[in-house]
């Protein structure tokens, strides 16, 4: 390695002795460099967090105040008019309820059905398994937006258009989630199951009372992904419902944004709606933050 094109530039002082794996950091990097780094990071963090702070602040402003001073984080006069209007004079509560219903059912369904399928693909030596697996890969390759019209056609044919069934059932399984569960189950040693098999436990029994409790980390990943996915889903609900009583948050707030029930811009109202619909995903995010941040995939061992 003597002929490297790298110009040798000997550093004063020995390099840090035992580097922690994967993170070559100098034990002492110069003060100016580090303060510059912090300055850069703080500026980026302000850019990434600022918009949300502005949105919350604006939701407490009056319409006029929001228009004249869009940047201030302190309202001139505190006003909860936007929230009052959302809760008392709009369909917002209905939207919220529908989003909760759909999200709860979809999340519960995905946790159960994804792990069932994932377990079968990982552990059961059944005839046709490779075929099922290949089909799953193929399905993952189909982009979602391409399915808008097709999904509507099928939902319509099945007679579940504009019903909770049409909103929930198509989302009950997702291929990516099956994948995550399959990878996790493959990482669990098989000896435990073998033991239970010898004791004469049935397949579902082994799955339900032995394997599933061991899969908590992966299940939590599925919960997070399903919750976020179904809470933030828009296009599926556009094509599966039309009645106002079945409108979910994303669809409702989108109609707000394009100017229904409003005279003028009504930014405080829209931003209040946007802030409120962000709260549940934000809560889930902060509760499970550690797991999200430390896992690149579902199969994290603790």
């Amino acid at each position: 390695m003597s002929a490297t094109p790298v110009v040798a530039e000997r550093r004063s002082g020995p390099p840090a002795g035992s580097l922690p794996a994967g993170k070559p950091s100098r034990s002492r990097f110069r003060l100016s460099t580090s303060s510059l780094l912090y300055a850069v990071l703080v500026v980026i963090a302000v850019i990434y967090i600022g918009p949300f702070l502005i949105s919350i602040a604006t939701s407490f402003k009056t319409d006029a105040d929001a228009a004249t001073d869009p940047l201030s984080l302190i309202p001139q006069t505190w006003s909860t008019a936007a929230y009052a209007k959302l809760f008392l004079n709009s369909d917002f509560p209905t939207w919220f309820t529908n989003s909760v219903i759909v999200t709860v059912f979809v999340t519960a369904g995905r946790v159960f059905l994804n792990s069932l399928a994932g377990y079968a693909l990982a552990r059961l030596e059944f005839r046709g398994r490779n075929l099922v697996f290949a089909a799953l890969i193929a399905v993952m390759a189909v982009p979602g937006v391409v399915l808008l019209i097709p999904k509507f056609l099928v939902i319509n044919q099945l007679g579940i258009y504009d019903s909770y069934a049409g909103m929930i059932v198509p989302l009950l399984v997702d291929a990516a989630g099956v994948f995550i569960m399959k990878n996790f189950f493959e990482s669990i040693p098989a000896s435990v199951e073998e033991q239970a098999r010898v004791d004469g436990a049935g397949t579902f029994r082994i799955f339900w009372s032995i394997v599933l409790p061991m899969a908590r980390p992966a299940l939590i990943t599925i919960v997070i992904l399903s919750f976020q996915g179904s809470w933030n889903e828009l296009s599926h609900f556009i094509i599966s419902t039309q009645s106002p009583g079945l409108t979910v948050l994303t669809k409702g707030v989108a109609s707000l944004a394009s100017g229904q029930l409003s005279q003028g811009t009504q930014y405080p109202l829209k931003l209040a709606a946007a802030a409120l619909m962000t709260i549940p995903v934000a809560v889930v995010f902060f509760v499970f933050q550690k797991r999200i941040m430390n896992s690149s995939d579902g199969s994290v061992k603790e």
Binding site: L19, L37, P51, L147, L172, M293
Partner: protein, 369 residues
């Protein structure tokens, strides 16, 4: 994945996994819900839509009823060479979305790498805070972010206020249909393209307009895409960085490579698999812009934020041109598959070139494990 042979076992004892009959029943039972749901709402729809894209179905009744006729390639011809409004709209939507892809994919990948490298320092205080801050936009819904963007990028909104402090007169973002590239050329006094660009059209759109760049309105969506996706991809890069071996870095350190060189010649090549993943995901995602357009601009101003996905939706659900809408969806599908395969070719692991092999003095097999 090994294919299971159903041939009778030959003389050579091949160690093959045996199927347990009990497992076969359980296996199919366990995967049945998944197969039914994915089959009903993914596989069957694709077949149905394929039929619709070759038919003249108007949205009334069943697409399989007797009064729906097979019209062959008509819907596709209208889009790809009809010479009418359908073709021009489709060309416009492709132009808009192509610029979006060309800008968003590289920018979000680079920003994600930069954020990951910045945050991945052991000595950094408040790493958790910064990671959370950068990732947070990724968990919010596209609808909420679009509402926020409409406010921030208003003509007298927060963004233009900040630009005003810097002495820049900001544009009226979402009302401005002018192309960014045209604007830059215009600053140099070029407002009219050469004749061969203005006279030749592709998909009903003059070449000069294909080169317009994203409109100012689309640029706001491009910024939004980087804002909301860089956090997710940052996490992927952080995970990759933490799995890199320290030994290679140490070797480079001992060889006297400075930080920048270590990043360029050691870290970056090792990140190749992750970059591949991120670019693939980015390509798939950016060709499907829908939510933001539906919520924010509905294709305006001047059709400059029209995207194929949104056009497919409006063609079918609003104009009742179901065949055309389905055809747009399939063309989009082909485009996504094509680009995914193309970048597989471009970013594949190449054997080390002869010149480099001389420099390194050893035949290595590129990055990876």
């Amino acid at each position: 994945m090994t294919a299971v042979t159903t041939a009778p076992p030959t003389a050579a004892p091949v160690p093959k996994k045996k199927h347990r009959p009990r497992d076969t029943i359980a296996g199919w039972l366990f995967t049945a819900p998944m197969l039914v749901i994915l089959g009903l709402f993914l596989v069957v729809p694709v077949g149905m839509a394929l039929w619709v894209s070759f038919s003249d179905w108007t949205g009334r009744g069943s697409p399989f009823s007797a009064n729906v006729a097979f019209v062959g390639m008509k819907n596709y011809q209208d889009l790809l060479g009809g010479g009418g409004l359908a073709e021009r709209d489709f060309g416009t939507s492709l132009r808009n979305n192509a610029w979006y892809v060309v800008l968003v994919v590289p920018i979000q990948t680079i920003v994600a790498i930069v954020l990951a490298v910045l945050v991945n320092r052991q000595v950094l205080k408040g790493r958790g805070f910064f990671r959370t801050a950068f990732y947070f936009p990724s968990v919010t819904s596209s609808v909420a972010i679009t509402v926020l963007w409409l406010f921030l990028f208003g003509a007298t909104g927060a963004v233009n206020k900040v630009l005003g402090f810097l002495g820049i007169h900001g544009p009226s973002w979402f009302q401005d249909p002018s192309g960014v590239v045209h604007n830059i050329l215009g600053a140099f006094g070029i407002t009219q393209g050469p004749a061969f660009l203005t006279d030749n059209t592709v998909l009903g759109l003059p070449l000069w307009d294909w080169l317009a760049g994203p409109s100012v309105a689309m640029s706001a969506f491009i910024i939004m895409a980087v804002f909301t996706t860089s956090g997710t991809f940052m996490l992927l890069f952080i995970a990759a960085l933490q799995n890199l071996s320290g030994e290679v870095q140490e070797a480079a350190l001992i060889d006297g490579a400075n930080g920048w060189q270590r990043f360029c010649y050691v870290t970056l090549p090792q990140l190749r698999p992750t970059i591949f993943t991120v670019v693939t995901l980015g390509l798939i995602g950016t060709w499907q812009v829908f939510d933001q357009i539906y919520t924010g601009t509905q294709g305006g101003p001047g059709k400059t934020t029209l995207t194929p996905a949104y056009l497919s939706y409006t063609s079918a659900f609003e104009s009742q041109e179901w065949g055309r809408g389905a055809a747009i969806a399939f063309v989009l599908f082909v485009i996504i598959v094509f680009f995914t395969l193309l970048q597989r070719l471009v970013l594949r692991e190449r054997p080390v070139s002869r010149r480099h092999r001389r420099i390194y003095g050893a035949p290595s097999q590129g990055a990876g494990k």
